[in-house]
Subunit: 92 residues, 10 copies
């Protein structure tokens, strides 16, 4: 089951650069892990913004929320989820 | 080069159902053709809406506009384009 | 799997009152059927508006889109879907 | 009398994690108590967001405001209330 | 129980002026009746707009929806309802 | 001359609770005084929000601005003013 | 008492050009008359739009609504009114 | 003096295709003429939309409005103008 | 050449009251000076808000930006500029 | 390939004026360099705002993101990118 997810990151000013870098490193590991496992199907940067559009493939809404709320950057993100369905003209 | 495209269709009230069905049939053929050629990489229905999110892979902005403005449903659509870039945490 | 759905109806001016009444009667039958089957868990009127908030319980995004796009009033509606997950403080 | 309520939480940066955890613990107790008493009929997480949609069943607007403004997280929330009425097609 | 209601009227172009005048006359009668009965406590014109802000005093959400959806101009209105509660600094 | 005023309060984080309580106490006194004098005709809490809708009755725009900008909570408020006129269907 | 007023005109498609020209001619006469009388203090075109920003000087909200709702183009306009007060740094 | 102008065209449904094509042909002639004269410095298509971003170089606001309101497509356009100034880091 | 300008001031919390008062005093001097010189033609307070609507009369966009960006309160303001043109029904 | 880019700068309050001036100096050098190299084709100030509209000419979305995210002011900017295509009426 697919969902389009947009994530916008707002860099916190109450953390040191080193603290935030550590969070970003954990985020990268987490994102790569979910991509390898197949749940995070696509991950694209929005040009010019500290934001991404992603496509997740998950068995349930609960699982999607578990994955998103587990993001190390989650406390610094605005996240918006759009459920997707099969399109009648899609050939895949 | 990837672009996220959202298309919202507004059914015209000044066309007959048969006229609009004919346009939709041409749209389906056109969409399937572009998908086979690789330019229209993904096509998903937005759940509950007469709308889709798509990803296009094109060599230029001009080519993307040519493809989108050639859609048989283009006169009845609101289209919004977001340019995408490679994300540093993407493993693809 | 639960989804909150808001539906806003815009009465078409190119149909006769009798034609639109017939559509509304089919809508009522359809809505009651889905409620009896358990897919349409809640249906509330938004006070002062020709609109409702509903909760659907469906096994997939595809099934939700099938149910919503099958609504007799679908061509006259603006629909917005929000995926819901279990809340850690919910006791149900 | 039913009301749909959306609550969005913004984590304060001027409190320590321990202070905020204590507030969240009180919030959980409060939410569970109101659910057991029947005033807080439904509580769902919005997927991907620190937010919920809830349905309250209260005898009056004043009582609803008393319950909402008493939430331990109220100072950190944006709350929006939509009054609901019985829908003519609802079978409940 | 008080509610602030904003109503914006959009004059239909598919009715004759005489037809719309007849609807407006019924609206006036209806509004005056509800004011005399006490349910429609205040009715003010928004300066420069075909719109009003009103305050209704009703025993329930269902009753408010019954009154608003019964307005002869209801099909031509956008209506927005805000529930009100007693303010701790109000002296009334 | 009547004006609808909406005031939304944002609690400042750079003041102590005691400092803000003192401002709120002055606000209450100020609001009660203006109500007794007749300039602040109605004061209602917006359910679920730290906000109010009010109706002021003043002889001029200048006087309304003087009253509003004199509110002890004014520096912490977003205020929006809508001028009201007599409605032709109002019976008052 | 001053008010800033923005008026946006939407040309109706159900009137002939001659009918609409006649309305515009009456609008021009009406606008010139109110300017000569002093109530319509300023009238500026918004560059690139069929819209104007105006300043009215009127003794009351009721009078302003009477003047605005009497505009021959009023049925085809979106009007927004902002009440103005004397600014402490204004030297006029 | 430079202005950024965005123009969005909405195709009218009350004109025949031939009538609208004639207007578009006049628009093209008009646009090319203004570009040759130097007033319309840049003209770009917004990808995926029946819209353009343009830069005009004109001696005054009045002249800009004269040029824009003279566009054959002006009655079918939404136009938004942003005044531009020299940027301190621009090397041109 | 006329421009309508709206300025909204946001009081900074990282300055002392004395520091901000000093900036406001410089702002007042600056505003009065530009009014006397004729560039700042009108200055009105928006009722209920820490904001003003102003009309500037300047020979160019560059000059307008120089004047606005020189405002002592500029770092604490949101400014929006609308270019104005002569209206065909204006009698001035 | 052309892109219209709007950048809005928000001055940070957690940096000293000297620190921010150093960043702005690096920004100026960076912007001038990209203009000389031809990637940053146009750079205009938005009148009255700490913002610019720019046109970039780049071979790809990835390159555009590399240039924009490398801006010394990037952490303090809101950036929005609009892809542009050749317009059929453009004579360039």
């Amino acid at each position: 089951m697919l969902f389009l997810v947009r994530m916008d990151v707002k860099v916190p000013t109450h953390l040191s650069a080193a603290e935030f870098d550590a969070i970003k490193a954990r985020e990268k590991t987490y994102a790569e892990q979910l991509q390898r496992e197949g749940a995070w199907r696509h991950l694209w940067r929005v040009v010019g913004e500290y934001a991404n559009y992603s496509v997740f493939d998950v068995p349930s809404n609960d699982e999607l929320h578990r994955l998103l709320s587990g993001l190390p950057l989650f406390p610094f993100m605005t996240v918006h989820v759009t459920p997707l369905a099969k399109h009648p003209s899609a050939i895949q």
